[in-house]
């Protein structure tokens, strides 16, 4: 199945604005992020902590709607889904 990944802010500089990935059926959000981390070490460094967990402030959105980045990581992705990843900005 095809899934689109949209990256924002600092993640966009690493991953590019968007990419389409061909994945096995029923791949979860967590598995997709792990795949991106393996393919792009800079993304791994930016998005994951030393223990390998997704940094807790990173926002995830499926089809442009925020999901809970703690509880919904095991959510299986569907054909055509768009996963967005965004590190919140804090400057002023």
């Amino acid at each position: 199945m095809l899934v689109k990944v949209l990256a924002f802010a600092g993640f966009r500089e690493i991953l590019g604005k968007e990419r389409e990935l061909s994945l096995n059926e029923s791949v979860t959000v967590k598995e997709l992020l792990a795949e991106l981390a393996v393919a792009t070490p800079r993304f791994k460094e930016a998005a994951f902590d030393e223990s390998g967990a997704l940094r807790d402030y990173v926002l995830l959105m499926i089809n442009r709607k925020l999901i809970d980045s703690r509880q919904d990581l095991s959510r299986p992705l569907q054909e055509g889904d768009e996963l967005a990843i965004f590190p919140p900005l804090a400057g002023g």
Binding site: K17, Y57, F86, L89, A90
Partner: protein
């Protein structure tokens, strides 16, 4: 009632929302948290637009490295308190409004005093702990919080209406780490201007607010996106 001078000063925006809308702006008391990059843009446009009473708070003094973006302050203001420099700039732009400058660090201890009488809160902070404090204060008082944040070419904004929209903690449950962010004046210009536009719309009752929508600006690619958000039923700050 607007004076003749006010009718003339605001004539171009009275075409947008009438004298009635202008009077609503005049009656509105604003709290601006921060007189830095975002606070400069927000306060200048709010003062010029005729928000009747502006209280602006910042604990810092102007540094040379602020001047690439903090357009409230001039070279001669280096080392002076930002809030005082802000007071002079804003009253210079519009002597027909009331401006109050507070040289204070916003904290649990003084937030009630600082927000006394305010109808809305403009978020121009540079850190999430104080933003969460503003969020809780907005929820407690049931007054809107206009959120904005920037880093480099990137910015984000949303409008928080207590009891109606997701609050700041629903959208950003955990704070990103504190850091010294790259900052470009024009990015502050875009995000601060969006925040002020939202406040004008809220007060005059026009348009569609950024309610339950997080706006993301990417200046590097010149594109704007938005994400839907909703109230978190177990939010630590706004769930009942």
């Amino acid at each position: 009632m607007l004076s003749d001078s006010e009718k003339k000063r605001y004539s171009r925006q009275i075409r947008l929302f009438g004298e009635d809308g202008q009077e609503k702006l005049k009656r509105t008391r604003v709290f601006i948290a921060g007189a830095g990059g975002l606070g400069s843009v927000i306060s200048i446009y709010m003062a010029a637009a005729g928000f009747g009473k502006i209280r602006i708070c910042d604990c810092d003094a102007v540094e040379l490295s602020n001047l690439n973006r903090q357009i409230l302050h001039a070279n001669a203001d280096v080392s002076r308190p930002k809030a005082l420099s802000a007071y002079e700039t804003l009253t210079g732009i519009n002597p027909e409004i009331e401006v109050e400058a507070e040289v204070q660090t916003i904290s649990e201890d003084n937030i009630d005093q600082l927000l006394l009488g305010s109808d809305l809160i403009m978020d121009a902070m540079d850190n999430f702990p104080v933003r969460y404090l503003l969020n809780r204060a907005a929820l407690k008082r049931k007054i809107p919080l206009f959120h904005g944040a920037i880093s480099g070419y990137q910015g984000q904004a949303t409008t928080i209406i207590p009891g109606k929209t997701a609050c700041l903690s629903c959208i950003f449950p955990r704070a990103p780490p504190a850091a010294t962010f790259p900052a470009l004046g024009s990015t502050c210009g875009i995000i601060g201007s969006i925040q002020v536009t939202e406040a004008v719309k809220y007060v005059t009752g026009t348009g569609k607010l950024l309610e339950n929508r997080l706006l993301l600006w990417d200046g590097l690619n010149a594109c704007l996106d938005e994400m839907a958000c909703e109230r978190n039923s177990v939010c630590r700050d706004c769930s009942e």
